[in-house]
Structure formats: C-alpha cells, structure tokens
C-alpha cells in the first residue's frame, strides 16, 4: 500500500512537470514566473491568453487521452489475458474510424466528425458484445477452455472487417480530403478543444474499476481458478470490457487513433512495478497521460511551425524505450 502511494506520487510529480513543460514551450517560450502568473491571474496579457486559451486545453486533452488509452490497454490485457492486447484489439478504433471518416467524406465539421467517431465506436462495442455474448454471459462454457481466446478471435475478425471498410473509404475519397483523413487515422491532437468529457470518463473509469483491482489480479490466474477463489467472473469480465471500451471510445473521439500508448505503457509498467492491478491501473493512467502530453508537446514544437501527428512521436520514442526495458532484465518479474 505504501509502495503504491509512493509510485503514484512520483508519477504525479512527473505529470505536473510535463504539464509545466507543455504550457511553457511552443512558438513563444513562457518563463516559469510568467507561467505562474498566466495560470493564476490570467488578466489579458498575451502570455495569459496563449496559456489558458491555446496550450492548456490541448495539454489537458492530451493528458486525458493518454491516460484513457493506457488504462484501456491495461484492462484489455487483463480481460484477454494477453500481453499483446491493446485498446483497439477488439475493433473499437475501426468502428470509430469508419464513423469519423464517413463524416469527413460527407464534408461535415469537427463536431460531426467527433459524433461520427463516437457513434462508430458505440456500434463496434455493441457488435463485439453481441457476438461474444456467450463469453460474457454463460457460465456453462468456461472451465477447461477459457473464454479469452474466443473473445480475442471475435474482436480481431471484427477489426479486420472495419479495416477493409476504412481502406475502401480511403480509396474512394477525393484527394483534398485524404490528408485530413490520414491525420485522423494516425491520431492528432491539433485543434482539439474539448477536454472535459475525456477527463470525466477517465475519472469515472478509475472509480468504477479500481475497487476490483484484486479481483483482476486473481482473474489473471485463469477464469476457473478465479471462480474458485470467489470472483464473480462473468460480471467482472463485462465490467472490464465496458470500462475499457468507454475509455477507448472517448480517447478515439477526442484525438483519433493514437497507437502505441495503450499497448506499451501498461506493459512497461508491469516490467517495472510488477503486475498488481491495484498499483498498475492508476499508474497506467498517470504514465499514459504524461507520455502523450510530452509527445504532443514534441509533435507541435520539434519541426515548428509544421505539426506532426502525435502518434508518430509516441511510436518513435516509445519503441526503443520499450525494447530497452524488455531486454534489460530477462526473466525478472
């Protein structure tokens, strides 16, 4: 318990540092003194306007999106008992992308692109839930054969279906719209203005799932064993799926399909901290948020005024960092 608090404290300090950095950097450097002034007494100074109107909303959106993705990834890995699972593995991002791209093709504005993404995500969530009904509802079928592999297969197939539709839409799209569509697919925080829904869902997801932390630890030992140890396996699996899906849907609606964060942050934390979900889930949210915030800061400053899709940065920095962790200590928990 004390160790968990210490871990979270360190990560929270890192998150605050990242926030300070994100707010200070950009086309105009804002000194720490100016920054404090701008945050707590904005007035109508130029610095105050840049910080509160431009950088803060974007930083908040980036942090919440990263937190949602890492949390969803950690939960999907537990649900599917597969270290390779990520938030998108069950096809949710595909559904969201089809919705968003359809709105773009129709020439609709940002609001409708977001609504399209949300609607697509919802359809994808319900589709997997309906098709994998027996993996969530019927106790009869589990026992020697766990439900996880079948659910994974169902999701992967649905994802393949979405991906075909996406390719079809890209093929048919006029050149003028193609660039925007590709940026959306890679994940982009440029022009994001609403951060409140993502924060709300992040907080709600943690509140719902955190009390089940020890149940999730036991669930990782296998469904039969979890049942024997007193875990209500099926309701728990449903909750995990819905929480992870809601988190992913909000992240995708906010910023498109940013890859990598959801797969690697929980995994890296497992290597560093061990696999206790009570420590890991909040730590994932904090680390995912911090990582995406830093990546987004880099994305908008490295080649300024050119803005890069943040998904490119997360992968370029994350892959070597993760390989280092993976190869550092073979066989250590």
């Amino acid at each position: 318990m004390r160790r968990a608090l210490l871990v979270w404290l360190v990560l929270a300090v890192a998150a605050l540092t990242a926030f300070a950095l994100a707010l200070a950097t950009g086309s105009r450097w804002i000194s720490p003194l100016e920054l404090t002034h701008a945050l707590f007494a904005p007035g109508d100074s130029l610095a105050g306007e840049i910080v509160t109107e431009l950088r803060l909303p974007r930083a908040l959106a980036a942090f919440a999106t990263g937190g949602l993705l890492a949390l969803a990834g950690a939960l999907m890995q537990v649900l599917l008992r597969n270290p390779l699972a990520d938030p998108y593995v069950l096809g949710l991002s595909g559904g969201a992308a089809v919705g968003a791209l359809a709105a773009m093709l129709a020439g609709l504005g940002t609001l409708f692109v977001n609504l399209g993404a949300a609607a697509g995500a919802l359809v994808a969530i319900l589709l997997v839930f309906a098709l994998a009904q027996r993996d969530f509802a019927r106790q009869q079928l589990f026992g020697p054969l766990d439900a996880s592999p079948r659910l994974l297969l169902t999701g992967v197939m649905i994802a393949a279906g979405w991906s075909a539709i996406i390719t079809l839409m890209l093929t048919l799209a006029p050149d003028a719209k193609l660039r925007g569509m590709l940026f959306w697919l890679m994940g982009d925080l440029n022009g994001v203005d609403s951060w409140a829904p993502a924060w709300f869902v992040l907080a709600a997801a943690l509140v719902v799932i955190y009390p089940a932390g020890r149940d999730l630890n036991v669930l990782l030992r296998g469904e039969a064993l979890a049942h024997a140890l007193g875990v209500r396996v099926m309701p728990l699996r449903r909750t995990v799926y819905l929480v992870a899906s809601a988190a992913t849907a909000l992240a995708v609606t906010t910023a498109g399909t940013i890859g990598f964060v959801g797969l690697v942050v929980p995994h890296a934390l497992r290597l560093a901290l061990g696999n206790d979900q009570r420590v890991l889930l909040p730590a994932s949210a904090l680390t995912g948020g911090t990582l995406l915030l830093l990546a987004d800061t880099a994305a908008r400053t490295v080649l300024a005024p050119q803005q890069l899709p943040v998904g490119v940065i997360t992968a370029l920095v994350g892959v070597p960092a993760f390989m280092f962790l993976l190869l550092r200590a073979p066989g250590k928990p």
């Binding site: 630890n217 039969a224 064993l225 007193g230 066989g331």
Partner: protein
C-alpha cells in the same frame, strides 16, 4: 453429527448426448480423503468442475457444508472449498509470492491489502510444498513440477475445509508426489480437512485415500471405502484392462497385467 463438507445427491452429468455420471450420491465428511478414479474421458474433471460450480449439472443436488451449493455467494464458497485446476497457464510474469497470495483473496475485504499474517501463511504454504526460498522467482522461469507446486501452495494458502484437486500429482517427481499426498493426508488427519483428488496411479490412490469414487465409461460409479471399490473386477470394468491386486509388505499393490 455435523453437516458433511460436501453432499452430492442423485447427480447426473451429461455432455452432449453422452451420460458421464448417472445418479451419483456420496458425502465427504471432515477428515476423509477421497480419490477419484476412472479412465480418460470418464468425467473426472467434469465432476470436479460441477462440484466447484463451474458448470451446471443435469440433475441432482449438491450441498456444501449443509447448504445448497448455489445458496452460497462466490466469496463464501471460496472459504468452504478450494480447487486446483488440471491446467495452469501464465500469460504474464508474476512472482511466486504473488501467485500464492491469490489464495488469500477470499479472506480480504474489498479495500484490504494483504498483511503480514497473509504473508506468513503464504510462506508456510510454500514451505509445505518444498518451495521455501522461491518467493521472488518468476513463475515463467519455473519447471512444470515447480509450477504445479506453486499452484498447490496457493490452494494451501486458501486453506478451505474441502480441497478439490484435479491431478495434483501431474508433473511431480516421485519424492514430491509422496510429499504432496502426505501433506494432504496430514491436513485431513490433523485439521479435519476433506480431500477429493483425481489420480491415475492406483498404488498411490490406495495408499493415501480412505475412500474412492470409481467412474466407469458406462456412467455408473462405484464408491465407498477404498478396499471395497478398488477390487479386481471393478477396476477391470472401469479401465478395460485387467489389474491384479496383491497384498505385500503391508500394502495393497495394483499391477496391470
């Protein structure tokens, strides 16, 4: 007399069109060690899964500590019976200690973290399966037999009155087979635990169990004290192979012909 740890009445188990078990009734009282014998596919695991509550039966009733199995909440049931599954698979790295600690899950309240006492129980369980000093090892680096003993330690840490074990001896070497069965026997004798385990070694079954359930491919079940169940005709009928029963060196030995 107190309620039996487990009472099974007229239990029928079917998989598809095949009847595995027909109208089976038996009870396990504190201090009894039962072995569950039968050929492959006779329904040993299915019977255990049903008793654990992992699948529905096709008729009959089961009672745990005097109350219908389904009347207990999962958490309550976990304090009354424990289960060792036949197959274990680890997707993620985890320390041996974390694995054994899972056995303490039923005793902890929602917000409670494992305390020093849970740690001591887990360490004692590891000691009992000859894995002292393995606490920090990663389960992914263990051998099959060591991994099996970690799962046994988790069950010992759960410490339920009734232990249901599906092939507890798989992957274990000779010494550890005996060590595990001796530990289960000691728990029954000294602490009044009930034990039901599946096993393929008839000699070990006869040596450590006081009672036996013998499943046949026809769905009938012989049951009772070990000497009455493990007879030459019944074993032949169940396994489809002649077995000679020999009394030697104060033990009953079974030799396949």
């Amino acid at each position: 007399m107190s309620a039996p740890l487990l009472r099974v009445n007229d239990l029928t188990l079917r998989v598809g069109a095949r009847t595995l078990v027909r109208e089976l009734s038996f009870r396990i009282d504190p201090g009894e060690v039962w072995c569950l014998l039968g050929p492959n596919g006779a329904g040993k695991s299915t019977l255990l899964h049903t008793v654990v509550g992992l699948r529905e039966s096709q008729g009959g009733a089961m009672e745990l500590a005097g109350r219908a199995l389904h009347a207990w909440t999962p958490g309550e049931a976990a304090r009354l019976r424990g289960f060792l599954p036949q197959t274990l698979h680890d997707a993620f790295s985890a320390s041996v200690m974390d694995n054994v600690m899972a056995g303490r899950h039923p005793y902890l309240a929602r917000w409670q973290w494992e305390n020093e006492r849970d740690r001591e129980i887990a360490l004692a369980a590891l000691q009992a399966v000859d894995l002292a000093g393995f606490e920090q090892r990663d389960v992914l680096t263990l051998s099959g037999g060591e991994r099996q003993r970690v799962a046994l330690a988790a069950l010992l840490a759960q410490d339920p009155p009734l232990l249901l074990l599906d092939e507890p001896l798989s992957h274990l070497d000779l010494r550890h087979q005996l060590l595990v069965l001796e530990e289960l026997g000691r728990l029954a004798r000294e602490r009044g635990k009930g034990v039901l385990f599946t096993v393929h070694d008839l000699n070990l079954a006869a040596r450590f169990a006081g009672h036996a359930l013998l499943l046949t491919p026809q769905g009938t079940v012989r049951q009772g004290p070990i000497g009455e169940v493990m007879t030459e005709p019944d074993l032949w009928c169940a396994f489809g192979h002649r077995v000679a029963r020999i009394e030697a060196a104060g033990r009953t030995l079974f030799i396949p012909e």
